[in-house]
């Protein structure tokens, strides 16, 4: 196998990256203060640490299951790509989390050092999710080395955009619909577009299909994502009321999206039979679509409505848009991340514009300042009446301005993702990188020693 040498050099490249990360950690990364032994910690401080820990650790583990098991198994739907889907998911995520501590840490330096703690671990896992979403668009058409290089670039861009959106634009996006899902989806699609096959090669690969068993494995991934999505959307919320709302709204949105997915799938699919691709993916669209507004007062019926709409859009995307993009633009999207993450995220941003435009202190009370930190509520009747002295940092946005910033958030995120995704695609296409040929796509045999029965699949 003349190609194997290339792979080994690629894997040696990985170990160089791993050693480099290790050295950077040695120089710059330290435990956060709460993780250090202390002499004189008051019982109040201690209680606060404990509280934070107890709230966040089960939440962290739920998110952890989503990233490393949910995404991994959702991608095992291809009949001959199960090892790569689940294995490379683990590899890519393991590099991504290490790198994310650094890429995100530079925006939170403490005397030139990066302090890591349990809440940083949740955020690192979420950063890995971004890369895994992009990986879904490319699934089966890259080497693991290309995926890892993409991860290194994407994590840096993601971290910068996250800082830009949250700290500078001050958008609200508790569940990460904009900064995680839209970013990951359109970054991956841009990479996919740049790496697309020449026209003559662009016939459907014989391996790009599922088997009965692989579909059931994949559905297991779906269910874990479905189960823990309320934890994902609520993981980083400190305020207990907001966290409760994020959990309940996500739960309701997912339930409604599930019902609509089955209905629309039966209506639009071949012979009016259900399509497992829709069930595996569009049932989750409700989790994405509620993301940016999950902690807002969308009301239970609002959550149901958002879930319903998102699933309809998602199934139609799988049924009509994805084949259209392949046939017209040779834009492949193996897992359909545009339909699961991209379009529902745009929907979520639109809802966030609507809810920003109607948010008042009369309904949100003090928490408005937490949810929309740049809005002007100092002179609201509520603020005057309650004689509050909280200031808002000089932003003083009106409702419409905040809605405009939400729009700016999703538009700028998509643009940044597309531009840097395209540049990343150019890098991955460099002659120095091994590129898979068409007949090597979606085939575990290229990268793995496979069991004897594999050839009969």
């Amino acid at each position: 196998m003349h190609t194997s040498g290339t792979e080994v050099s690629g894997f040696i490249g990985i170990i160089i990256v791993q050693v480099t990360i290790l050295i950077i950690y040695g120089i710059f990364v330290r435990y956060d203060y709460e993780m250090l032994p202390t002499t004189n910690v008051t019982s109040e401080e201690f209680a606060a640490i404990e509280k934070q820990h107890r709230v966040s650790y089960p939440h962290f583990q739920d998110v952890h299951v989503m990233i490393f098991l949910g995404f991994a198994y959702l991608m095992t739907f291809l009949k001959k790509y199960g090892f790569s889907a689940s294995g490379f998911n683990l590899l890519v995520a393991a590099i991504s989390v290490q790198w994310a501590f650094l890429a995100r840490g530079v925006f939170q330096l403490d005397n030139g050092l990066i302090r890591i703690s349990l809440s940083r671990v949740i955020e690192a896992d979420i950063a890995a999710a971004v890369v895994l979403i992009s990986m879904g668009a490319l699934l089966g058409r890259t080497t693991p080395i290309q995926l890892l290089l993409m991860a290194l670039i994407e994590i840096v861009v993601y971290s910068s955009n996250e800082y830009f959106q949250i700290e500078l634009l001050k958008i609200t996006d508790a569940g990460g619909s904009i900064i995680v899902h839209a970013f990951g989806a359109y970054f991956g699609l841009a990479v996919s577009f740049v790496m697309r096959m020449k026209r003559e090669e662009n016939n459907a690969g014989t391996n790009e299909g599922s088997s009965y068993t692989s579909d059931i494995f994949a559905f297991c991934g779906t269910i874990f994502l479905w189960l823990f999505w309320p934890s994902f959307n609520s993981a980083l919320l400190d305020d207990i009321s907001q966290q409760h709302r994020a959990i309940l709204n996500t739960y309701l949105s997912l339930a409604a999206a599930t019902v609509s997915t089955f209905v629309v799938s039966a209506i639009v699919s071949h012979q009016h039979k259900l399509d497992m691709v829709h069930i595996q993916n569009s049932t989750l669209a409700g989790g994405v679509a509620i993301g940016a507004v999950c902690n807002l007062l969308v009301s239970p019926h609002g959550a149901l409505l958002i879930g319903t709409i998102s699933a309809i859009i998602s199934v139609f995307g799988y049924r009509y848009l994805t084949p259209f993009l392949v046939s017209q633009f040779r834009l492949h999207d193996t897992c359909g991340v545009n339909n699961l993450h991209g379009l529902p995220a745009i929907l979520s941003a639109i809802f966030s514009m609507f809810y920003a435009s109607v948010a008042t202190t009369d309904i949100y009370k003090d928490s408005l300042n937490d949810i929309f930190p740049a809005m002007n509520w100092k002179n609201s009747s509520y603020a005057l009446e309650h004689n509050t002295t909280i200031t808002v940092g000089g932003f003083g946005r009106t409702n419409m301005e905040q809605a405009g910033y939400q729009a700016l958030g999703i538009i700028s995120t998509i643009l940044i993702a597309l531009i840097f995704g395209a540049l990343t695609g150019v890098v991955l296409n460099l002659p120095a990188m091994r590129n898979l040929k068409k007949d090597e796509h979606h085939d575990d045999d290229i990268f793995w020693n496979i069991p004897d029965d594999f050839k009969h699949i």
Copy 2:
């Protein structure tokens, strides 16, 4: 496919139900107060909310995994029905939880409104479990439309019976053996009986068997149910001592049931080899059998004993009773819910009678009032000695009376389940409903676009 039209009309029926639910939510359903922004919440109130949240959210997620993953994968044991088992489980549960908020909410109205919160979400998940148990009895012999119609009816009857048992009869049933497991099992069996095939069709379907892979998928469901059953039985207990006991008793009962299942399966099965059906199901009987008494002082050896007995009954049920009911009464029970849920639940009710008959304030102290709210302990020596002033609402039951109410509880639950299950079966058999023919049973090909390899299974 002339049948497809029927299905589409059925799916359109579902979307009408979903929209109706959405409208009812808009009119009647609101966030509970704790989920609303507040101006003046004291730190004590806040701490109480936080405490509740922290206790219940991991518990909720454990139960959530059971309902949506455990039940789903346990039902994938049929070789050609994995898509339907896991997919329809998700669909039925997603409708059920939405509907359960309403059906249960009418018994807890707040000024004409239904308030939903995180603890209501656990209860909605448990209501879905009831329907999924019934679905187990029917697995592979109905359309998804029939299942959803059953869910809508069953949730209403379940919610009413739950209210009747807990609020009016004041039985103890912390783990839901009576109100969840017995109800779900006998409701489903009654539906199954009414929908049974005509005699001439009643030969064993060729698809009603497992494959090696499908059995391993199903065992994955078993294990998740096994793991989180202590959370299921303890999820709704506020008192920490009772919750600890519920966890530990369930854990011990399951461990003992597991050992006994293996032993009895080896003894009674063909060639004295283990039967995977027993291992998948009867190992869980200990969770059901301990349910109604899990928070009582059954003692560790009591928990082991209950688990042991339940598994013996369950394996014998699978080995002898289920085939007998099929051959004599054409009563099919695909997953054997009578053996996993029905008989162990009756056993649990019998144990609850025993423990009610010996419960005294000397051993339960103040908590007796919480566990058996209708028993008379005002004039017990304990109450007199401790000079307690707690009253018991005028019920003043003796031990024997409470034991009688426990008996009344299980008997009335089974009767209600049988009657309304039979009526539901009549509805599902109406000419307007599509009914599956014998050769359409246990076959994903009827409802799903299936991968190419399916036809070789």
Copy 3:
């Protein structure tokens, strides 16, 4: 089948064990005090119980998933042994936890009684893990009766060694690398060595291989172990700072081990393609290797380094050492527990020696006394300066002495495991026990009624 009788007599042996355990429980086992109803519990005491409960229950459930699902599915990698791997895992663990309450309880007697509580449940689960590790070495080459007999013996030796190491030698081993992983691995290997086949039989069994599907099931086990290993290592730590460090260090070590596993696997494997055995197992070596030092101040880069080294050792072990031991010593190790548990545990012990040798009160403050209870820090400059009055029970070890005790800990653990493992092997080889023949190895058909498609695998 003349062998079946033997099996039934074996299963009847199991029920005798189960009944004996039940009787012992009746005489000696009681709920711990916190689980009993109380009259006058102060709110402080109540809060302490609640706190403990909340911290430990999600941790327990994570560990619970590892033992009953992670280990079970990791062992399903054999193509024809999935029922036995997952089923016997459940059976062995179910007996082991019941027995562990007793075997461990005799070291914590309360007026002659064994009190069980939620934290004892975590410890019982961990004791079961020890047996399951040993089972991994033997997988497919024993009857379930032999496994259960081994469990009964091993749990007793394990409990005694645990007491010896922690209470008498006073070593530090928060994650159980020494007392759990090294013990389980070398106990199992000693059993395997004694039970090894005669030379003429020792050709590779035709069933000792994986299938594409079985490998993906096994990887599911890997991922659950990988996900919850931070919970395993931190489950029994009370101090919140130590628990945080244990979580974060384990997380980082696993991430680094994963990356290194992929790289080394690609370099050393056939055709430079990845080997699924390495990915399934060596990615977890980081969890073992960090175990004994997970709560120490190893620093983030230290955790990455430990994970990296452990994975390199582990993959080399699978690639070169395991085949060497089979060919030279006929020492079979089906799951390669020496490479996943044994060698990384020795590495962990070596690291614990290093970190013990440099631990001072200047860096660990008061917590040194908790981590190394036998070290002398009374007269350290820190102790004098802070005027502390905490005594250390007269041990007064220096850093080098503590490091020596860590060395003594791993050496004595391995020796005890080897000796009692060999004795156990002798017992399992007794003529009274049914021993599998070579052609019965790794074959579910020996113990299970198997589906029709099994014969085509």
